[in-house]
Subunit: 221 residues, 2 copies
DNA sequence: CGTATCATTGAGCTTAGTCAAAAAGTGTGG
DNA sequence: CCACACTTTTTGACTAAGCTCAATGATACG
């Protein structure tokens, strides 16, 4: 509550979407559950500010992060009746819009324009998931971290180009990329030393050589 | 053409979907391109028989497999105007249904039931992608291969339970899981020796202990 | 029967994970 | 404002997992 520097971005919700008339605004602190795996999927959500991790519980009890939700991202969309993952806020002052699923679908039935809007929105989720698969399919840890940073720089458009303020911890990044937190740290240090990125504090990153990140920069010696 | 033992499955296309009236049937040999990254996305597709790999070309020139398409799977759905990946058949006698995108969307505009059908179909693609992310997020190679086999056994429902006929090569599996082909082979051999799976030939796998695969079987000693 | 592709196995090397500790932030209460 | 506890991040040393290179078996196809 008593945070003055609110550097997280806010999505413009007033772009005239007919769906937005259904939106209800929800606010969360850090590490709060927005929706839970197995619960009835009554709402669709859109991240408006802050961020969240999408996690599933594995049979062996460990949590696995299967996505990061940033401003603009829709989530909680499922074909079945239940959410197939949980979403937990990673930042203070996380704000999401909630759309009652039933209302949204009814609106889609009565209005083809809304139906197309929903379809486009769902297709954008697919595009995001495919990008994530691409990142995770990269071979070395440094490549993954590099692709991750590039993706973040595209999905967090609020700052100056090439400047990123990461809303999540190294541990979240590690679980997201399927590597250890120590390796994330080492990769970042390596990229920093080589002049590919630079830091201001721990969470603010500046990309100096995006080409090197794209090409899958291999640490030589 | 001259293959008598056709062990690939065929999806029942006659479940009364109104979309199916638009379907055009296309047949492919092995390693043929069904749709290409960057081409105009004029069609939606559904795999009916055989299989395909979904690949993207990386900036460094290497291909990366970001998905395997099996009977029942829809693909080629994109928010933008172009396909963001290529699809290449991996089996002989691969059959896909093609739906002219414009027609499908028009039909969705005029018929809310079709609109919901499309939405459900797109949401099922999301579920599939999430499963894939879950598999790729597993830590060890043997866990990935194990999860992969389980996923295949669910997505290839044509055979007796626990029996899988893999339509793709070890190399395709390797690229799909982001590990080397040798490691795939070693993991399979290890699972075989430990009695978790068994082989009949190279491509036909039987799952003997699905629990061990789910739990993320760790090779001890 | 020969050739090409696919699959398995081995040896050595590189990468990343694990365990451990130190350093740098962050928040709280005195 | 400072001391303290707590979390996050970095770094180091060691270990283990998986990659590369290479050779050997299978399998399919002409």
């Amino acid at each position: 509550m008593a945070i003055n520097r609110s550097e997280t971005s806010m999505v413009d919700s007033g772009h005239g979407s007919r769906l937005d008339t259904l939106a209800v605004r929800l606010c969360f602190h850090r590490n709060q559950e927005i929706c839970g795996q197995g619960q009835r999927a009554a709402y669709w959500y859109r991240m408006m500010r802050g961020g969240a991790r999408r996690c599933v519980l594995r049979p062996d009890g460990k949590r696995q992060i299967v996505g990061l939700l940033l401003p603009g991202d829709f989530f909680g969309l499922t074909a079945g009746e239940k959410y197939d993952y949980s979403a937990e806020s990673v930042a203070e002052e996380t704000v999401v819009s909630a759309y009652l699923r039933r209302s949204a679908e009814d609106l889609g039935d009565s209005d083809p324009i809304v139906a197309r809007e929903i379809r486009t929105l769902v297709l954008s989720v697919i595009a995001q998931l495919q990008t994530q698969l691409f990142i995770m399919g990269r071979t070395t840890a440094t490549e993954k971290v590099g692709s991750f940073l590039l993706d973040m720089s595209h999905r967090l458009p609020n700052h100056a180009p090439g400047r990123i303020l990461l809303p999540m911890s190294r541990y979240d990044i590690a679980d997201y990329l399927g590597i250890s937190a120590e390796t994330v740290s080492r990769s970042l240090s390596s990229l920093n030393q080589r002049g590919v990125i630079s830091f201001k504090g721990k969470r603010q990153v500046r990309i100096l050589n995006s080409r090197a990140l794209e090409d899958g920069y291999r640490a030589a010696a």
